[in-house]
């Protein structure tokens, strides 16, 4: 069986590995054209199968939509969640894929972002209500949505630094458990604290057009396409930003630390500083997607931010191919999309998810779309494998 598998892998490498090389060999303007076409397609996705403005449909494409099955979810809504998760995966990829730190409590930052906009932006939040009383403000007063964005970013950044400061000196697997605990602590604090709305959570979270109401024309409750386009725009901006970061001095330091911390330190890269940066940047991205999530759903409660979600986030990164942004985006998309499209099997979706994790990791530990550097590292490690005297 392994022989057949290897042959299959050879053939696949021939077909797809060659494709990546051919892509890189294209002239720059052709690559640009390709990227632009791809982005245009992403913006078109909510109408998949239809031609907007006409009654024409493109046969076949309909099959991919989640509302093509009985009881399926709103297609734009699913796309919005996919975009959110892609954003999360890009942030977590900075932490796991680039800096090599295993963070199992990423949902904590997602929660911090969501709670920031909820507690400062909603008129129903205990924080805003107490501010109204303190400063004698009207009952409709709350912090504007646009102001909530820097607040959420700042809070999640600070949460990242606060968590990273004491824990980043720990070895890899200890870090995993401490971060797991951190995610739980955030959830339990939110659940037990009166100022965070306790188990009922917070409702009335504003969006770009202010508090949720039926009068909102663009970012309303029923029409979800604008939300998807907003999230997609944020994703594209962040891809650009993280890409620049990855190829900067900071990005190179992350890779050096991931591959050999001691060697990096000897070469003058101070590991702690750059790890903390990775943590903080990852946290800020997580917070941003939490903010979008809370704004779209207008209502959050602590039970949403459980460990299972953290595990899902890590799985997205690792399954997709940690270290490669296209890979983690693919992983995030698949893990958000597949369970929705194949709802008929929803009873078995966790089981299938678990099986998929095991199989992918056993057969393709570098992930579906790995970064080339990462693949080489894994091959290196296999060569160094311990002797096995049977």
């Amino acid at each position: 069986m392994t022989e057949a598998l290897r042959q299959f892998n050879e053939r696949r490498r021939h077909a797809f590995g060659g494709m990546a090389d051919r892509w890189r060999a294209l002239p720059r303007w052709q690559r640009w054209l390709g990227v632009l076409a791809g982005i245009a397609f992403l913006y078109y996705l909510p109408f998949l199968g239809d031609i907007p403005g006409t009654n024409l449909i493109i046969p076949g494409l309909d099959w991919f939509r989640t509302d093509s099955i009985a009881g399926g979810s709103n297609w734009a809504g699913v796309l919005f969640v996919c975009a959110l998760y892609v954003l999360v995966a890009i942030g977590l990829n900075v932490v796991i894929g680039l800096a090599g730190l295993l963070d199992l409590g990423y949902v904590g930052f997602y929660a911090v972002g969501a709670y920031s906009v909820a507690l400062f932006g909603s008129t129903q939040s205990p924080v805003v209500q107490s501010m109204q009383r303190q400063f004698g403000l009207s009952e409709e007063w709350a912090v504007a949505w646009a102001v909530c964005i820097p607040i959420a970013l700042a809070f999640s950044l600070v949460a990242g630094v606060l968590l990273g400061w004491p824990t980043l000196r720990l070895r890899g697997d200890y870090l995993a458990i401490v971060t797991l605990g951190f995610g739980e602590i955030i959830r339990i604090v939110a659940k037990n604290s009166g100022w965070a709305g306790q188990a009922q959570g917070v409702a009335g979270i504003p969006g770009p057009e202010g508090p949720p109401s039926a009068d909102n024309t663009v970012f309303g409750l029923l029409k979800i396409e604008p939300w998807y386009w907003l999230a997609l725009t944020v994703v594209l901006l962040m891809v650009l930003l993280v890409r620049r970061l990855e190829h900067s001095r900071v990005g190179r330091s992350w890779l050096a630390i991931r591959e050999d911390e001691d060697a990096a330190a000897v070469m003058g890269v101070y590991p702690f500083k750059f790890k903390l940066w990775a943590f903080a940047i990852g946290a800020a991205l997580g917070g941003l997607s939490g903010l979008l999530f809370a704004s779209r759903s207008t209502f959050i409660q602590p039970e949403t931010f459980n460990v299972q979600l953290s595990i899902l986030f890590v799985a997205m990164v690792v399954v997709g191919g940690s270290g490669n942004m296209a890979g983690v985006a693919l992983g995030a998309f698949l893990l958000a999309y597949l369970p929705e499209r194949f709802r008929d099997f929803s009873e078995y979706r966790v089981l299938a998810f678990g099986l998929a994790l095991v199989l992918i990791m056993l057969l393709r530990p570098q992930g579906l779309l790995p970064s080339r550097r990462r693949t080489r590292e894994l091959q290196d490690r296999a060569k160094e494998a311990a002797v096995n005297v049977a």
Binding site: I96, L102, P166, T167, R169, L170, R171, G172, D173, Y174, A176, I177, V178, L180, G181, F182, E184, I185, I188, V189, N192, V307, I311, V314, A315, V318, V319, S322, E347, Y348, V350, L351, F353, G354, L355, A356, L357, V358, M361, L362, P365, L378, R381, A382, E384, A385, A386, V387, N388, V389, A390
Partner: protein, 324 residues
């Protein structure tokens, strides 16, 4: 902070904490053994404990026990439960190693990959139980059952001794004593026997051990089985004390047990016992002080504080250093 509730009955809370900690300690031994040898957090270990609780429940309902039996029969049933629980957990642990880890070990994959497969295996186990086995073991055929399932009580929990205002029940005594006995047995096994020497050798240096003729795979299998046996015993104690199980009880217990292992010094058998008992006591104190709302936070705060100030745990990491 409700200090009156705590200090008003300190002895009682300590006893409750110790008996709770006995379960953590036994589960923690599994984490510690595997970590000591493989430097790997066996994330699926919590599910191995869960499997044990269900296997024991299934056996007992198969034997047709519905009510508390007489003392003589209860001892027989408990021993049967111990055997079945240990066998089921040990077999599950072995399967997990074969299916999820062996191939990765051959590839010398980074720890992250192990962790993800372990999470995958753990999800699979939990879902298999939620979808089919929980129903089967509670006597309803292979059907979905995500509810809490009651387990018939083997011993009536009653106070046998009162010390300093603490009422100590028979079950609590059994729990703490059996945790101590299991640890002693394991300690002797690792330190005195030929197999134990193999385990210590692989923990110290796998390559050298292999060159000296230690069969690495066999040692690793042994370590997983030993961890499974301890989890099976813990499952029996859990069933006796709490009398309920559920498809997802493993998760929280696993997390606490891992915390206990780190607290005592991961890779250190006596550390696992100390960490487990200590964590149990800390938790009961925290629960009393805050009326249970912050119980789970206490464990994590302890973990973080320990790791910051003493990253090797209270007794240090030392499976390889022959101090076990």
């Amino acid at each position: 902070m409700n200090f009156d509730a705590l200090f008003g009955n300190l002895a009682q809370h300590t006893v409750d904490g110790l008996s709770k900690g006995a379960i953590y300690a036994l589960v923690a031994l599994g984490y510690t053994l595997v970590y000591g040898v493989l430097r790997l957090i066996n994330f699926a270990h919590s599910e191995i404990f869960m499997v044990g609780t269900f296997a024991i429940l299934g056996t007992w309902s198969l034997l047709g026990i519905t009510d508390t039996p007489s003392i003589g029969m209860a001892i027989v049933y408990l021993l049967i439960g111990l055997l079945v629980g240990a066998a089921a957990s040990g077999a599950t642990a072995l399967t997990v190693e074969r299916v999820a880890y062996r191939r990765l070990r051959r590839m010398n994959a980074p720890p992250l990959i192990f962790l993800i497969t372990a999470i995958g295996v753990s999800l699979v186990l939990v879902e298999i139980y939620a979808l089919w086995m929980a129903g089967f073991f509670s006597g309803r055929g292979f059907s979905e059952n995500r509810l809490v399932i009651g387990i018939p009580a083997m011993l009536k929990q009653e106070t046998v001794i009162s010390v300093a205002g603490a009422n100590i029940t028979n079950v609590q005594i059994i729990m703490v004593v059996s945790a101590l006995v299991m640890l002693y047995g394991l300690d002797q096994f690792i330190n005195r026997t030929r197999y134990g020497r193999g385990v210590r050798a692989v923990a110290q240096n796998p390559d050298t051990a292999a060159l000296m003729g230690v069969h690495q795979d066999r040692v690793i299998m042994l370590v997983f089985v030993l961890g499974g046996l301890m989890a099976g015993a813990a499952a029996l104690l859990w069933n006796m004390r709490y009398g309920i199980t559920k498809f997802d009880i493993g998760f929280v217990i696993g997390l606490k047990a891992f915390t206990a292992a780190v607290l005592g010094g991961i890779g250190n058998l006596r550390g696992a016992l100390l960490g487990g008992l200590l964590l149990g006591v800390i938790e009961v104190y925290a629960a009393t002080l805050t009326r249970s709302t912050w119980e789970d936070v206490a464990a994590f705060v302890v973990l973080v504080v320990v790791l910051i100030f003493r990253p090797t745990g209270l007794l240090g990491e030392s499976l390889g250093k022959a101090r076990a």
